[in-house]
């Protein structure tokens, strides 16, 4: 009996180790490929670690396309969107949970409908709207069109439902405005949900590709995914300079892996919260 359970434990460990290795291996392969010379990368059989790691590939890739600009764009756009979403989700969720008004049910229903509609399906009419507003090819366009997320609203609403009405009323008796109550009394109580919102939104927007690619043609405005993809396709990079392409992929991906390492707990907890948020 003891022997059998020991065997089982070992088997489980082996299986887990194999899967974990499989999941992480593409990242390892990306890194070693980035350090190889163009000759070594075409060698058979492939080397697991390059003979003489060519660290200069990273610098060469960095200079081969305006990656600093792309990454800067992504960080800037994602950060601004996070701030806006904190404000508008907070206010919307507060109105939905702690302010009585006649249109509340109508608005809630409307948002629920929005939750069911796949975003990508409205990209075409959204593009026409943005072009009529004259906001194609601008930071304002990218930011404004991503400035609200139904998921974020639900997430914060879920947190605000836990806040008692008495607290809000006590604030009102003290003469505080709703705006003040929201940001000084309610916000601190829900800060872990806001942290999740910030992190998830940042990652999502940093990685965002399809929509920003559609609405920006100017290379100066490209986010990192679109920039990386055009480096991959153009400039003779396609299939010829794999080490440089892998180096460029590496400095796009690694910041996120580092962010993930630092904020693991919050990110994994977000999974929990997102399940709650979508149950409404």
């Amino acid at each position: 009996m003891h022997y059998r359970s020991g065997m089982r434990r070992l088997l489980a460990h082996l299986l887990l180790a194999a899967v974990a290795l499989l999941m992480a291996f593409p990242f390892y392969w990306m890194t070693t490929s980035a350090l190889k010379t163009n000759d070594e990368i075409w060698q058979f059989p492939p080397t697991l670690w390059p003979h003489s790691p060519l660290w200069s590939n990273f610098a060469d890739a960095w200079d081969a396309a305006p990656f600093a600009r792309y990454i800067g764009n992504s960080i800037f756009v994602a950060a601004v969107i996070v701030v806006i979403q904190i404000v508008n989700s907070g206010m919307m969720a507060y109105a939905m949970t702690h302010m009585p008004f006649r249109l509340k049910n109508a608005f809630t229903a409307l948002i629920l409908v929005g939750y069911m509609v796949p975003v990508t399906a409205v990209y075409l009419p959204g593009y026409v709207v943005l072009s009529n507003l004259g906001l194609l090819d601008s930071y304002a366009g990218i930011i404004l069109s991503n400035s609200v997320s139904i998921f974020s609203i639900f997430l914060i609403r879920q947190a605000f439902l836990q806040v008692s009405h008495e607290l809000v009323e006590a604030g009102q008796i003290d003469g505080a405005s709703h705006f003040r109550i929201l940001w000084t009394l309610v916000f601190p109580l829900a800060r872990s949900s806001f942290a999740v919102l910030a992190l998830i939104t940042f990652i999502e927007q940093y990685n965002n590709y399809f929509w920003p690619m559609l609405i920006t043609k100017n290379p100066d405005l490209q986010l990192v995914s679109a920039g990386l993809r055009s480096f991959f396709v153009q400039g003779g990079a396609y299939g010829l300079k794999w080490p440089l392409i892998m180096a460029a992929s590496a400095f796009t991906i690694l910041p996120l892996l580092v962010l993930f390492l630092l904020t693991q707990k919050t990110i994994m907890r977000s999974v929990n919260l997102s399940a709650g948020a979508s149950k409404g």
Partner: protein, 293 residues
């Protein structure tokens, strides 16, 4: 009294504006607009949109390419959703017991989910490289013939699916870990006292109790697989011979490549109807299933 009532209504509306304005501009209005567009013929440029009634829908239903697209979409949904759930559940079962290195395994397995799809798809296209790519090297090592992963119509969809499953399996694992953690230990002990084996305990106690999670994942993953774009765009662009062209990709191509706005809008409507139907179904079933939390 009436004035203060009015004032509080106004204040509440004011609080909703920062969210409602962008929502109306980029969500609700486009939703109505795309219905209208689906009844017209337009090419983005010309100032007139010709009203053509149901012609766009009729044209779609007569188009054999559209049926291929439907088939690919179905294959893509089934081929991504089921493996993501099965792998996630399997890993969650293995990791649900406290074991050394558990947190480390969990971290590695979850990590693909946070990375940008475009960048990791580029890494995968290097792995799929037909001459010296890692995938074919592994096949060669086992004495097997190499595959032209992304250029062979029989393998292209499989290649895209592999990337999709790789990226999301860890995400569904986390959901299942939480759900399994919520199964009350007394239930399992009771089953054990009744002489239930490990498998029997899992099948009769754990599996029914985590069914809300299974259902939730099924709906969310199906909706997101209907919207998959990034990996298809990087790896195959819908090719070869349309073998990876899903409905969404078809929509994108007819809108932004062929400029057939009416036809593209009709595809969008079908997508929307599909997703809304799925969500409504999930609300309906969700209300009927018992929650244990």
């Amino acid at each position: 009294m009436r004035r203060s009532r009015l004032a509080s209504e106004g204040k509440a509306l004011l609080f909703t504006l920062p969210a409602m304005i962008p929502l109306s501009l980029f969500w609700f209005y486009p939703l109505v607009y795309v219905v209208y567009l689906s009844f017209t013929e337009w090419d983005f440029m010309s100032p007139v949109k010709t009203f053509v009634g149901l012609d766009n829908y009729r044209y779609l239903l007569d188009n054999p390419e559209f049926y291929q697209t439907l088939r690919v979409t179905l294959l893509f949904c089934v081929g991504s959703v089921l493996p993501i759930m099965a792998v996630g559940l399997g890993l969650a079962i293995l990791l649900s017991r406290k074991r050394r290195g558990g947190a480390f395994y969990r971290m590695l397995i979850f990590s693909p989910w946070v990375t940008p799809t475009v960048a990791v798809s580029i890494v995968w296209s290097w792995i799929y490289e037909p001459d010296v790519g890692l995938a074919n090297n592994v096949l060669h090592a086992f004495g097997l013939e190499g595959i032209r992963w992304l250029e062979d119509p029989n393998w292209a969809l499989v290649s895209v699916l592999l990337v999709t499953v790789w990226k999301s399996a860890g995400w569904s694992m986390i959901f299942y870990l939480v759900a399994i953690g919520h199964v009350p230990p007394d239930y399992l002990e009771a089953a054990e006292l009744d002489g239930a084996s490990g498998w029997r305990k899992f099948r009769s106690v754990t599996l029914p109790l985590i069914s809300p999670t299974t259902f939730f994942l099924f709906v969310v993953l199906t909706i997101s697989s209907l919207q998959a774009y990034d990996q298809i765009n990087v790896l195959t662009q819908g090719g070869p011979a349309g073998s990876t062209r899903t409905m969404l990709y078809f929509y994108y191509l007819s809108a932004f490549d062929a400029f057939q706005i009416g036809e593209a809008s009709a595809v969008a409507i079908l997508l929307i109807v599909g997703c809304v139907a799925l969500s409504l179904l999930s609300f309906w079933i969700g209300r009927r299933t018992v929650h244990y939390s």
